[in-house]
């Protein structure tokens, strides 16, 4: 009994209702992107609720644009954008949870990154990803190339360390003597 169990009142009907569409979408994305994908996990064999597409960093933006605009996919809504810290190499995984507004499907896109590797920014696809990337930078230390404003968002600007990494202690408290002054440079 795990995430693949069909519970009618809690999303268990997704496999029945969206299963066919997911199968076709997985085939289509594999044939179009081929080697740029590391793997595709489908919900029938893996313990996940939606298909997961693992894509290489270089084709990430291309894949997201394709998923957003292609009419067979239409995953136009960015529901969530976050990262996880696997402790093995490659260390970080960027996770995109996408939602197709018209049909109700969901899908997940993941991109594995080494520590110190910079990721491409997807502000061109969804402007709302701006702060999500800042949060990933703040919490995990993953930098994004060409981000307009990559600075800490949840923690103080002088904070040392990246809190959500597995090696940061949960009670590593840092206190500062003063608050951040308003920055006129950002108001030009």
């Amino acid at each position: 009994m795990n995430v693949s169990t069909k519970i009618p009142t809690n999303g268990g009907w997704w496999l029945d209702k969206y299963g066919e569409a997911w199968k076709q979408q997985i085939e289509a994305v594999k044939s179009k992107f081929g080697g740029a994908l590391e793997e595709v996990r489908d919900p029938w064999t893996y313990p996940t609720d939606v298909p997961i597409i693992y894509v290489k960093k270089d084709s990430l933006i291309q894949l997201l644009e394709f998923l957003k605009t292609d009419p067979a996919f239409a995953y136009s809504y960015l529901a969530d954008y976050t990262a996880t810290d696997e402790e093995v190499s490659p260390r970080f995984e960027l996770v995109f949870n996408l939602y197709a507004m018209d049909r109700g499907h969901r899908i997940r896109v993941k991109c594995r990154l080494e520590e110190g590797e910079e990721a491409p920014t997807c502000i061109s696809v969804w402007p709302g990803a701006d702060w999500a990337e800042r949060e990933i930078f703040d919490m995990f230390g993953v930098r994004f190339t060409d981000h307009p404003n990559l600075r800490r968002i949840l923690m103080d600007y002088r904070w040392v360390g990246y809190p959500l990494r597995k090696d940061y202690p949960i009670d590593g408290f840092q206190l500062f003597p003063d608050a951040e002054a308003p920055d006129p440079e950002r108001l030009k």
């Binding site: 995430v3 999303g11 609720d49 507004m101 702060w131 308003p182 006129p184 108001l187």
Partner: protein, 431 residues
């Protein structure tokens, strides 16, 4: 400085008694002072950088906006938050799944039961657990009550920010009456920690549905009163119409959800489009706005309150007696009677609360229609009693980003009204 102003070009420098027109330097058109300024000059006198700081009279929580204003108009601004960051995602990795229920209350603290239900559903999905019917009905009723009280407080505080104080008092009194209902259910007013993985903390007391029915009647009256007080009130309309406009495309680009998205015209409600629990059996409408301004968000919230009351009534009619705990031995906390009398129940109980239960390997993103929008929990489990990654998708995070484009070009007071309308709850924003 220029000759125009110091007056060597004909300023007579008359004292008292001369008319203002005579005191103006010659060469300047009568009635106007034209001033040329460089918009990027930081020492420019006509632009002021103000800090609507983390402590401010708009009682929404702590966030900060730094704005460059020209008179009262905001020309450019940036927002900051993080003043309520409580590291819940890190705590999710260090606490067992049971212990984490307590932290979920403190996310959207105006509607704590919705967060509890969403989290329990997320973990139940990962484990493949089905909860019995009565548990689902009570969860639905708790969610709808929480949704209504969240909208009451949002509209109340929005009205206070605009200047209409009395509505806040009426709305808050209804919230106190709802607190009585919630207290009957679980003992706490605000931070309820009511749901458990696989069930609920306590069953609803006998006769609770009748109390809910009388509360529904009172709240209908209060909603109608609010409508009469605010909807066509000329001052409220002038303060809120055409203020903070956000179009449908912009709302989708910034990942808006919930009433703020519906007011911009996005026809989307997770209760209808991706239903869970018994929402497919419920008969309710979804309110969609047209203009995407503050007034529309207010109207959408009022209509949603009415629809939630309708759903609540239907739940009250259909709820039956029955068990509230699943029989799945992995999560079922033994009943107290058994814990006191049977050895194995006591050992089970001990194990649950000391070490937690193991969740199978897997990951799931469970989204639920919270009061503010899509409340999502993305849980990655690698086996074990605590999560590997507990990601909380709070709708306020995505809404607050849009405050900068919505506020620029408007007045400071408009920004305050807009902030109130998108209902930023600091608990969800910072987690």
């Amino acid at each position: 400085m220029d000759d125009k102003y110091t007056g060597s070009a004909g300023y007579t420098g008359l004292g008292q008694g001369a008319s203002p027109a005579a005191r103006m330097p010659t060469g300047v058109p009568e009635g106007r002072y034209t001033v040329e300024h460089d918009p990027d000059d930081l020492w420019d006198d006509s632009r002021v950088i103000i800090n609507l700081g983390p402590t401010h009279p708009a009682m929404h929580g702590s966030f900060r906006m730094v704005a460059k204003i020209n008179g009262e108009t905001i020309e450019k601004s940036y927002c900051e938050f993080g003043y309520t960051h409580r590291a819940k995602e890190k705590l999710g990795e260090n606490r067992t799944y049971h212990q984490f229920v307590v932290f979920t209350d403190r996310l959207n603290y105006c509607s704590a039961l919705i967060n509890n239900v969403a989290y329990s559903m997320a973990v139940e999905k990962l484990m493949g657990i089905e909860v019995p019917e009565r548990c689902t009905w009570i969860r639905m009723m708790a969610c709808e009550i929480s949704r209504i009280i969240d909208h009451l407080i949002c509209v109340g505080i929005g009205a206070v920010d605009v200047g209409a104080f009395s509505y806040f008092l009426y709305g808050f009194h209804q919230r106190e009456e709802a607190y009585t209902l919630i207290e009957q259910l679980c003992g706490a007013r605000l931070t309820t920690s009511y749901t458990r993985i696989g069930g609920l903390m306590y069953d609803a007391p006998v006769g609770w549905e009748d109390n809910v029915r009388s509360w529904i009647k009172e709240t209908r009256r209060v909603t109608d009163e609010m409508d009469r007080l605010l909807t066509t009130n000329k001052i409220f309309c002038q303060r809120t119409q055409n203020v903070g406009k956000f179009s449908k495309e912009q709302a989708l680009a910034f990942s808006f959800s919930g009433p703020s998205a519906r007011a911009s015209g996005v026809d989307w409600d997770l209760r209808r489009d991706q239903p869970c629990m018994f929402y497919p059996q419920m008969d309710f409408d979804v309110a969609i706005g047209t203009h995407g301004d503050v007034h529309d968000r207010y109207l959408v919230r009022v209509e949603e309150m009415r629809q939630s009351l309708k759903i609540l009534e239907q739940c009250c009619d259909r709820i039956q007696k029955g068990p509230i705990w699943t029989e799945d031995k992995r999560v079922r906390i033994p009943a107290k009677q058994e814990v006191y009398t049977s050895m194995e129940a006591m050992i089970h109980h001990f194990k649950f609360f000391m070490t937690g239960f193991d969740v199978p390997v897997g990951e799931a993103y469970t989204a639920f229609e919270g009061a503010n929008g899509e409340m999502g929990f993305y849980i990655v489990s690698k086996g074990g009693p605590s999560a590997h990654r507990m990601r909380i998708r709070g709708p306020s995070f995505w809404h607050y980003q849009a405050l900068t484009p919505m506020a620029e070009g408007g007045k400071i007071a408009d920004m305050i009204a807009t902030l109130g309308s998108i209902n930023i709850i600091a608990g969800e924003l910072d987690r």
